[in-house]
Amino acid sequence: MYPLPNHEPSSKFVEFSNLQKAYPNPYGEDFVAVENFNLNIKQGEFIGLIGHSGCGKSTVLTMLAGLNAISGGGIIVDNKEIDEPGPDRAVVFQSPCLMPWFNTYQNVMVGVKNVYPHASKKERHDIVMYALEVCGLQDSIKKHPHEMSGGQQQRVGIARAIALKPKVLLLDEPFGRLDSLTRMDLQDTILQILNKEKITTMIVTHDVDEAVFLCDRVAMMTNGPRATLGEILEVGFERPRNRKDIMNDPMFYRYIDHLVSYLMDRAHLREPAKTYDKNSLLSFTKKPGDKATHVA
């Protein structure tokens, strides 16, 4: 593992307890999207949230961001319960959400200005320039969003989030709309940034390869409605990670296999959440429809 900050990282830096999201239904019982969601995230950890479409993984993330009201239970970040959005939980949305009337620099500066109101002009400029540099945007400072490709735009979105120096970085399917080459590029960029910055990060994704490649732990959610945490997979790859090495590691495919089998076979089950590491991975026969068997 990478070197730790001077104090012991809290194992409960982010804590979801009995989180529930219910939408009022005027003609009957409330529609419960997510319930009994319990999860702890360690400081500096990169956690992935995976599940079928509509299972509520984005709902969990937006509740953590504070953009979606919490119906029951609570979320604690760094010993504070959250009740509204804030720059300590920066979000990178699926669409880049850049202001088309601002150029790259201005798009990043908007947030910086607001989050560091007492910083000098020079300090702010340095923060923006640093964020742009780590995202590889040195050459696109003056460009407007419409002059850039989708991948470049998403880099600006990431730079905007990084520049806020957030406690938690939330990635809501950030690469969902990009082609696979650009996606790999951006995954590498994210990993490089996190190697330097050690920000606690949560990513919501559909893509199992991405989840395994990026995350320390992958949380799998059961199908909705009333979705909840199903299983947790601990990914044992060392950091800093190298795409080539990981691709060549047979464990990579076993992790993927485990995730896929969960999504295919067990996501509809309601069993108490279990954690798997590389020694307790389930092993599967290739025949579809076979009941999964546990091999210790």
Partner: protein, 543 residues
């Protein structure tokens, strides 16, 4: 390749064309730069030549159909008449300019202009005599040909008349003998009645037979050969120009401002000089009074302005100014109120009934309301600071002669044009992209930076779409308001032409119709360009 200077210039030009909305000219530019001439020529043929041919076709139909429709104000003017009306109005405008500058000149310049004008008068007098002679000659000649044409018809008519007169006389005698016979019981009364009825029917028949000939003769008289009309027109034109030159002489001499001032001062001086020479009290008093009066009139003359006649172009300037003032007033109300509506649902709920009720009100009603209200604000317009400001001699807008009528026209424009801008602004502000609002929430932007950095920029395209509609509505309303309220402007021009009913007025009205349309078109274009400037998504914001 795209980096060469020529190509760069080409692409800038093409972008400019696209931006201003005149994409029709795109293939022309490409053709000039030699890009795929075959395609460009086919595009030009399809999108430029075809519409031009179509429009020429329309004009031909117009010129053929128009003279066939006779109205009580003359036949419907064709394109030639409208063009002539444009030239007349242009000449009228130029003459007013000349007279105005004559009125204002002084010193050596005045004398030089005067000499020039007098020279022109000499040539024009000769020309006028010549043309008048030609016209008279033409009239005589034409009279001969007309007479020659009419003569056979007239003799025919006369002979018919003679015949019928004799026949009538015979019938009358016959009837009177019959009547006597009936009285003497020697004839049947029914025979008398038949004879009277027969006589009436025959009279009618005779009248019918002459009617045809009479109309033929009238037509020949009413439509003399073209050359007479042309000669008369030419003669009139020269006479008209001569009259104008004579008027110019007036404005360069007795009517000239500096001349008026100096002659008044001269008179005052004379009167002052006469005071010591007078022997009696009343004589002294008379001279002194004259001195004072002349000095005063000199002062007044200094302030005098040339009383310009209202030309159609001046009316157009005034209309444009009025619509811009009204439009700015509409913006000043609609944009802030629209934003508040978009930001606050309670405020929106308060405004909705007001918007729904007042939006459909006819401009005519607003005009009358404002005429009453604003009329009350300016009981003495000449003394009001607003009009003093606009009509001060240093103000470049002085030539527009701002008055209360203009103010209430502008208010009418403002209140009618306000609604589309207001509704669209409210819509734009309330429908800001949810993602952008989420970003604002995460960044925890305050109200003002949220407003200025996110809400306003993202609502600008819709806002400008509304403003564009507003300006269009305002322009239509203004012309109607001017026509109704006799506030100077194109509307009043049309109304005046309608009222005075001269042979030229119909053509003038159609000319005004084209002017109104053209100005409206350009106002709309300006708004389209503005709208493109504030729309960010398609990349046009960086031209």
């Amino acid at each position: 390749m795209a980096d060469s200077g020529k190509d760069k210039f080409k692409y800038t030009l093409l972008k400019g064309i696209d931006f201003s909305g005149f994409t029709v000219f795109d293939p022309v530019v490409r053709l000039i730069f030699g890009e795929d001439p075959k395609k460009q020529l086919s595009d030009i043929g399809r999108y430029m030549v075809t519409p031009v041919i179509f429009i020429i076709g329309c004009i031909i139909i117009w010129s053929v159909m128009a003279p066939r429709h006779k109205t009580k104000s003359g036949e419907v003017p064709g394109p030639d008449r409208v063009l002539a009306s444009y030239q007349n109005n242009k000449r009228f405008h130029e003459r007013e300019n000349e007279k105005q500058s004559d009125f204002n000149t002084d010193g050596a310049e005045r004398e030089a202009t005067l000499a020039e004008v007098q020279e022109q008068i000499i040539t024009y007098t000769a020309l006028a005599e010549e043309k008048a002679k030609a016209a008279a000659l033409a009239a005589v000649e034409v009279q001969d040909t007309i007479d020659a044409k009419i003569l056979p018809l007239q003799t025919k008519l006369d002979s018919i008349k003679e015949k019928s007169k004799e026949a009538q006389k015979l019938r009358r005698e016959n009837i009177s003998t019959l009547a006597e016979g009936v009285a003497a019981n020697t004839a049947e009364s029914s025979a008398l009645i038949t004879a009277i009825a027969e006589d009436k029917a025959l009279k009618e028949k005779e009248r019918e037979s002459t009617k045809d000939l009479k109309t033929q003769i009238d037509e020949i008289r009413a439509n003399p050969p073209k050359r007479l009309k042309e000669a008369q027109l030419a003669s009139n034109k020269v006479a008209d120009e001569l009259q104008h030159l004579k008027k110019r002489v007036d404005f360069l001499t007795t009517g000239n401002r500096s001349e008026k001032v100096s002659s008044s001062l001269e008179a005052a001086k004379e009167a002052t000089a006469a005071i010591p020479l007078a022997s009696t009290g009343p004589e002294v008093l008379k001279s002194a009074k004259a001195a004072v009066r002349n000095t005063e009139s000199a002062e007044r003359a200094k302030e005098q302005k040339y009383p310009r006649a209202a030309t159609v172009f001046w009316q157009a300037y005034r209309s444009i100014f009025t619509v811009i003032v009204g439009f700015l007033m509409a913006c000043a109300v609609a944009i802030p109120v629209g934003m508040m509506c978009g930001l606050n649902r309670v405020f929106m709920a308060c405004m909705t009934p007001i918007i729904s009720i007042f939006r459909p009100v006819s401009p005519v009603v607003w005009l009358l309301i404002f005429q009453i209200i604003i009329g009350a604000f300016f009981p003495n317009p000449d003394e009001h600071p607003l009009f003093k400001f606009f009509n001060a001699s240093w103000n470049p807008l002085e030539f527009l002669q701002v008055n209360p009528a203009m103010v209430f026209s502008a208010f009418t424009v403002a209140i009618c044009a306000m609604w589309p801008a207001l509704v669209n602004t409210a819509l734009g502000v309330s429908s800001v992209d949810k993602d952008h609002m989420n970003v604002a929430k995460v960044l925890r932007l305050g109200f003002w930076s949220r407003l200025f950095k996110i809400i306003i920029p993202s609502s600008l395209p819709l806002m400008f779409a509304g403003l564009r509609i507003s300006l269009g509505v305002g322009w239509m309303v203004l012309i109607a308001a001017e026509a109704l309220s006799s506030s100077d402007g194109l509307g009043k021009f049309v109304w005046d032409e309608y009222q005075n009913g001269s042979s030229l007025s119909f053509a003038n009205i159609i000319l005004a119709c084209f002017i109104v349309g053209t100005i409206g078109f350009f106002l709309d274009r300006i708004m389209i360009v503005l709208q493109k400037i504030v729309t960010f998504d398609d990349g046009s914001a960086t031209v």
